[in-house]
């Protein structure tokens, strides 16, 4: 039995690259904004490029905020990428304070406040905690494009850190059924695809 991964469409760009990446890996996908289709699927991806505030507004308007929360509660795998990762947190300071999905306790903060060139664009290393060594590949660079970063309250859920100069921030989290990345695994070459594949394989999602 093949499984289906829904890519949540909330008008926030870049649905195509993650969809193409999943298809290349052999998964059955659907790009959708329909609550029932999303709830029926076996896993979801929350992609995203753009503004936190605008994204939350559309998620609420389409009633997708509740759908994502329900999906989380029933313990199905969720992959959040970039803005889709940030939306999982309590609130963001982008354009004033905006409440997020609050699935993960913590805030989204501005890089510029820490005197980092912003947007930060380029390839950065993931620094894993010791017990997560098994997925470290020799080449450890992933593609980032962002002006904000996440600060989870519970540091135990941090899966990797990344450093821009001496500034260290959380670049991915693993929490229950959620994997969230600040970087773009779908744009990080073959090793990025490997990371996506590993998350869905570990969660028992079967390919076509």
């Amino acid at each position: 039995m093949k499984n289906k991964i829904s890519i949540v469409d909330y008008n926030a760009g870049n649905l195509f690259s993650i969809n193409n990446a999943l298809k290349k890996l052999g998964y059955h996908t659907e790009v959708t904004d329909q609550p029932n289709t999303i709830l029926d699927s076996d896993a979801i991806v929350i992609p995203g490029v753009g503004s936190f505030k605008a994204a939350m507004k559309i998620l609420k308007k389409k009633k997708l905020d509740k759908v994502i929360l329900h999906f989380f509660k029933i313990n199905k795998p969720i992959l959040g990428i970039c803005l889709g990762f940030q939306l999982l947190f309590s609130k963001s300071e982008e354009f004033g304070l905006t409440n997020g999905l609050n699935l993960i306790e913590g805030n989204i903060k501005s890089l510029a406040k820490f005197k980092i060139k912003s947007p930060n664009i380029g390839w950065y290393k993931l620094i894993f905690k010791n017990n997560k060594k098994k997925i470290i590949t020799k080449n450890n660079f992933y593609y980032f494009v962002h002006s904000f970063f996440a600060e989870p309250k519970n540091k135990n859920i941090i899966f990797s850190y990344t450093k821009i100069g001496n500034f260290k921030f959380c670049s991915s989290i693993l929490y229950k059924n959620v994997y969230g990345t600040q970087f773009h695994p779908e744009k990080s070459g073959a090793k990025g695809l490997l990371l996506i594949d590993k998350f869905f394989i570990d969660n028992g999602i079967q390919k076509i």
């Binding site: 760009g13 870049n14 195509f16 690259s17 193409n20 990446a21 298809k23 290349k24 490029v49 753009g50 503004s51 510029a112 060139k117 912003s118 947007p119 930060n120 664009i121 380029g122 390839w123 950065y124 290393k125 080449n139 660079f141 593609y143 494009v145 962002h146 002006s147 821009i164 100069g165 773009h184 779908e186 744009k187 990080s188 070459g189 073959a190 990025g192 695809l193």
Partner: protein
């Protein structure tokens, strides 16, 4: 230290990859996608498609290239050329581009940058600047593929673009483009701009070998380089004549004559990055 970012720039005219010198005298090299695929498989960090004709008509083949690229190549893709309004951006992004570069339309109406940045996010909007050195040693901004001169000074325009919401700048010093001789003393000028700018900058054009890149890193602190000739001619050189005719619609005799290669240290993205790594620069390898 930050990681160097090696971007393959592909100038596209209709369905072909082309390359000129000083942005003129374009020569057809072959099918753009074949080159892009080779660069992806050989260590390139990012692709940059520039539609050099930028006509409203005949862009279908560009969209085809973008779409094919995004289905098979999993690194970021910048697309520029002929982007005049929000609708043009939507089309390019929907075809599968990740980010767009805008030149002429932004100079004509700087508020377009703000409009686009608000709609698509700052990081999606790159402002491409073509500048030519004048007799009085200032650099003026040119638009319409360098056909029209403006009265804007390069550093002045860079500041405006940043304040209007651009996420990144791609700067071409046109006199150096396609020559592979490095940027020489003009690097100092870029260094000044880099110090003033709070957004990242990509240097495009003129870099013919690894030392030119190292000079730029040391003097400007810029880490992102958009490179065409040294990769294109290297790829062509390594193709057998028979295979070359399969992907190239250009003048194969010219391509095989290797006349144009003289100033360039032909290499692939991965080999270039290996040399940078040996010299203790951080690269995605």
């Amino acid at each position: 230290m930050e990681c160097c970012r090696i971007i393959s720039r592909l100038d596209i005219k209709e369905k072909n990859l082309v390359k000129g010198v000083g942005m003129e005298g374009l020569r057809v090299l072959g099918k753009a996608y074949s080159f892009a695929e080779y660069y992806y498989n050989n260590g390139c960090d990012e692709l940059y498609y520039q539609d050099v004709v930028a006509s409203l008509y005949g862009r279908n083949s560009l969209y085809d290239d973008i779409s094919r690229t995004s289905k098979n190549i999993f690194i970021p893709l910048i697309v520029g050329g002929g982007i005049r309004n929000v609708n043009d951006i939507v089309k390019v992004l929907q075809a599968g581009a990740d980010r767009v570069s805008i030149n002429t339309a932004a100079v004509k109406n700087p508020n377009f940058i703000t409009e686009a940045a608000e709609k698509f996010g700052s990081s999606t909007i790159i402002i491409s600047i073509d500048a030519i050195k004048q007799k009085d040693n200032t650099f003026l901004v040119y638009t319409d593929n360098t056909r029209s001169r403006t009265s804007l000074e390069l550093s002045e325009w860079a500041q405006i673009a940043e304040s209007k919401g651009a996420g990144e700048l791609i700067i071409t010093l046109v006199d150096h483009e396609g020559r592979g001789k490095g940027l020489g003393p003009d690097i100092d000028y870029l260094s000044k701009i880099s110090k003033k700018c709070r957004i990242p900058i990509i240097i495009n054009g003129g870099l013919g070998n690894v030392n030119h890149i190292i000079q730029c890193i040391k003097k400007t602190n810029i880490r992102s380089f958009s490179i065409a000739s040294i990769f294109h001619y290297n790829f062509i050189k390594n193709q057998r004549k028979k295979k070359l005719s399969e992907f190239s619609e250009g003048n194969i005799d010219f391509l095989l004559s290797r006349k144009k290669y003289m100033n360039f240290d032909l290499t692939s993205p991965i080999k270039l990055k290996k040399i940078l790594k040996k010299k203790n620069f951080l690269v995605n390898l």
